[in-house]
C-alpha cells in the first residue's frame, strides 16, 4: 500500500487515502492484478485486525474469491498483525489478463459512517 500507484490495484471497498503504508479495507474489498503465464501461484496478504475493532467484531472469517470463485476461507480468532499465503488453483486464473481478488469479512466494525473490515499493508501474488 506504500506504492504510489496502489490505487491502480483497487477495484472497490477501501478507504480513499491513508497516511501511512496501510489502508482500511471495508466490508467488500476487491483488488485487481495482472497475471502473466504461470503454472502455480500463491496469494499473499499482510494485514491487521486492530484491537479496537476486534473488540466489536470478535473472531472474523475471511473468504477469498478469485475472479468471483471462492478458493479459501480462514477464521481469525485473535487481533493483531496477520500473514496470509495460500495457493490459488490455476483454473481460476485469467492468464495474461486482469484478475480480481475479493476478500470478504463475515463481520465488520462500525465507526458510524463506515464498516471497517481490516487494515491492509500489502497484498499480491508470488510463485
Amino acid at each position: 500500500m506504500a506504492d504510489p500507484d496502489a490505487d491502480s490495484y483497487i477495484v472497490q471497498g477501501f478507504r480513499d487515502k491513508s497516511e501511512g503504508p496501510w489502508r482500511w479495507a471495508l466490508d467488500h474489498p476487491i483488488l485487481r492484478f495482472y497475471l502473466p503465464q504461470v503454472t502455480s501461484i500463491n496469494f499473499n496478504m499482510q494485514f491487521t485486525f486492530p484491537e479496537q475493532t476486534f473488540r466489536q467484531t470478535g473472531p472474523v472469517t475471511l473468504t477469498f474469491l478469485m475472479n468471483g470463485h471462492p478458493f479459501d476461507q480462514v477464521r481469525y480468532t485473535t487481533p493483531g498483525e496477520q500473514h496470509y499465503a495460500h495457493p490459488v488453483p490455476v483454473n481460476l486464473l485469467h492468464l495474461d489478463a486482469l484478475n480480481t481478488v475479493a476478500i470478504e469479512p463475515d463481520r465488520t466494525a462500525s465507526n458510524g459512517s463506515e464498516k471497517l473490515g481490516f487494515v491492509l499493508t500489502r497484498a499480491g501474488f508470488s510463485e
Binding site: V38, F125, E127
Partner: protein, 727 residues
Amino acid sequence: MLPLRILFGAVFTSAACLGLGTRALGAANKDWAVRFVTGAAILSLAVFAICALDVAYWPLFLAVGMVAIWLGRPWHMPARPKPTGIELLLLLIFAIYFMVYWSNAMAPEASPDGATYHLAFVARYFREHGFHPITWNMYASLPEGLEMLFLFAFAFGRHSAAAMVHLAFLVALAWQMFDYGRRSGFPIPAACGALLVFASPLAGIDAASAYNDVALAAVAFTLFNLLQSWDLQRSTRLLPAIGLAAGLAFAIKYTAWPGLLYATGYVFYKSRSFKSIAIVSSCSACVVLPWLFKNWLWVENPLAPFFNNLFPNPYITAAFEASYRHDMTLYDLATRWQIPMQVTVRGGLGGLLGPVFLLAPIALLALRHRAGRQLLLAALVFGANYFSNISPRFLLPMLPFVALAMALALSAVPALLLAITLLHAVISWPTLVPKYAAPNAWHLSKVPWREALRIKPAAHYLETHLFYWNEMRMVEAYTEPGASVFTYKPIPESYTSRRILVQYESEPNQIAGRLIQIAYDPQVQPIWRLRLHFPRQPLEAIRLVQTASGDEQWNIHELRLFDGAAELPRQPSWRITAQPYPWTIQQAFDNSLLTFWRCGDTLHPGEYVEVDFSGTEPIDSVLMEAEPNQPDLRLNLMGRLQSGEWLKIASPPEIFEAAPPLGLRRAAASELKLRGIDYILAWEGERETADLRRHPELWGTRQVAQTKDAKLFKLEVGQASRPVPRF
C-alpha cells in the same frame, strides 16, 4: 593406430619447426633447440595465415610440414663432445624424468585449462577449418601463438599430439640452458640448473599438458640465447630470429611483452643501429600484429580481454576486468608473504616449482659474474609481470634464468650444487610430492604408460583424471550438434563440438547468468522504483547522470517517461544512448522488467543514460525501475531545452518499492532461448540454479539428462515431461 598418429603429429610438427628454423638461421646458429624455437615462430605465423584463410585442412598441414622439413636440409646433427661422468649421471636423470613426462603428455589430455580452453579453440578451428569470431569466451582473445602449433599437431594426433609438442619445448629449453652454460664455461652448473627446471613438478606437468607456460619459458630463453650469440657474432642473420622469438613470446602470452622491449633495447644498446632495430621490430611485429588485428576486428579491442577502459566493447566490461585482475593478484591468500611457500612447496596457487627454489635468493650471488648479470636481467624482464597473476605458472618464464643464476652462484661449491640438484630430483618425483604439497596442488601423479599407448581405454583415464568429464559426455550425448549450453562452471570443451557458454567468460554470458538469478531471487528482482518529478515542460532530450562513486554497477530494468499520469510511448525516432556501456541500453526500454541495462563499470561520476526525442516531448516525470542493490547510486536529471541548453530539471527523487514481478522464471527461460541458449547445465549445490533444479516446471524447462553432479535442462516452454535418463 592412435599412438602412431599422436607420435606422428608431435614429431612432424617439431620437425617442421626445426626445418623452418634451420632455413631461417642457416650457419648463424646451429643449435637444434634455437632453430626449433625460431622455426616455431614461423610455423605459428603460417598456421595463423592458414586459419585466417579458412583452409585449415590436414592435407594442407601435411604439405606445409613436408615443405618445411625439406627446407631444413641437410639433415644432420652436429657432433657433440663426449659427456663426462657427472654429465652422464645428470643425463640419466633427465632421461628418467623425460619418460615420465612423455607418458603423461601422450596419455589422454586431462589438464584443466588444456581440455577446457587451449585445445577447445584448437578443436574448433580444426572443425571449422579456420578462425571464426568467438565472442562468448574471453580466453579466445588471448594470443594463441602456441595454439597454432597445437593445431598443426592436432590435425594428425588430436589432443595428445598437441601436449607432446609442448613437451618438445621443455626439452629444447633444458638443452639450451645446458648448451649456454657450456659455451659460457660452466657446463656442470648449467646442467644442474637445467635439471632444476626440468625436474620441477610444475614444469613437468605444465609441459606434459596443452598449456603454454613452458613454451614461453623456452622462447624467452631462446631470445636470451640469440641475443647473447648476436652480441658475440654480430651476425645480421640472427636479428630476424631475435625479432621472431620476441614476437612469439608475446604471441604465446601477453605477459611477455617486456621481451619486446628487451630484444629491441638490447640490440640498440649494443649496436646503436637503427637498421638492426628495424629488422628486430619488424620481425616481432609480423608475429604480434596479426593477433592484435584479429582481436580488434572481432572483439573491438586489440588487447582483449584486457584494457577494456581504453577499448570499450560489448564483450568484456571494465568492471569485470577490474575484479578479474584483483582476483589474480592475490587468489585466496591473506598476504603476499605466503607466496614463496605456496609457489615452491605447497602448490596451493596451482602447482609448485619445488622446495629448492626457496633458495632462489642465492641467485643474487651470481651478480659477480657477467653471465649472472645477464641472466638476472633476463629474469627481471620475464618476471616483471608476475604480480599481475601470482600463479607459479607465471614464474616459469623467469625460472630458467633464476635456476642458472642459482647454479652459477653455487658453482664455487660443486658438491653442494650437485647435492641440491640431486635432492631436487628426488623430492620432485611424482609420488613424493604429495608428502609436502597441499592436497589440491597440481602435479603429475603417476606414469600412465598403458594409457599413453592406449592399451587402457582413454575414457576411464579421463573419467578419473579430468574434471567434469561425465558432464561433458552428457552434453555431447543429449544435445544436438551446434547447440549452446550455458553453465556456471567450465567443462572440458575441447572434447565436445557444442558451444559452451560459461557465465564469467563474457558480458553477454554474465547477463544470461544474471537473468537466471533475477528470475527467482527476491534480492535482485527489479522492485526498486525511483521517480524524478519536475515542472511539465517540452524537452528535446533528457539525460540521467550518475554522480557518485561506489563498488556496485548502475542497473536499469525499465526507464519510463511520463506526461502526467500517461506514459510516453517509446518512439522509433528516439535516439537512446548510454555511457560507458551503450550496447544494451535498449533493454531498459523494451517493456520487460526482466531484461536490463547495466553500465559496465563500477559507479563513477559522469555515467549517463540519454534519450533524444528527435523533436520535443512534453514531460513531467521519469521513473526508473531497477534492482535494489545500488545504494550508492546518485542521479541528476538533465533536460535539453528547445534552445539546446542542458539544465538540471529534477529535485531529489521519490524512492519506493513495488511488488516483485510475476512470471519471471518463464520469461527468463524464453529470453535465454531468444539469446541463443538451448540448454542450461545446472550443478548440484549451485546456488544460482537451485530454483531451476527444484522447480523446472515453473521455468518451462525440461530436464533431459543428469549425472551425479549436474542436471541438463532444455529450454523449451510447454514441452510435456518425460522420464529423465541417468548418465
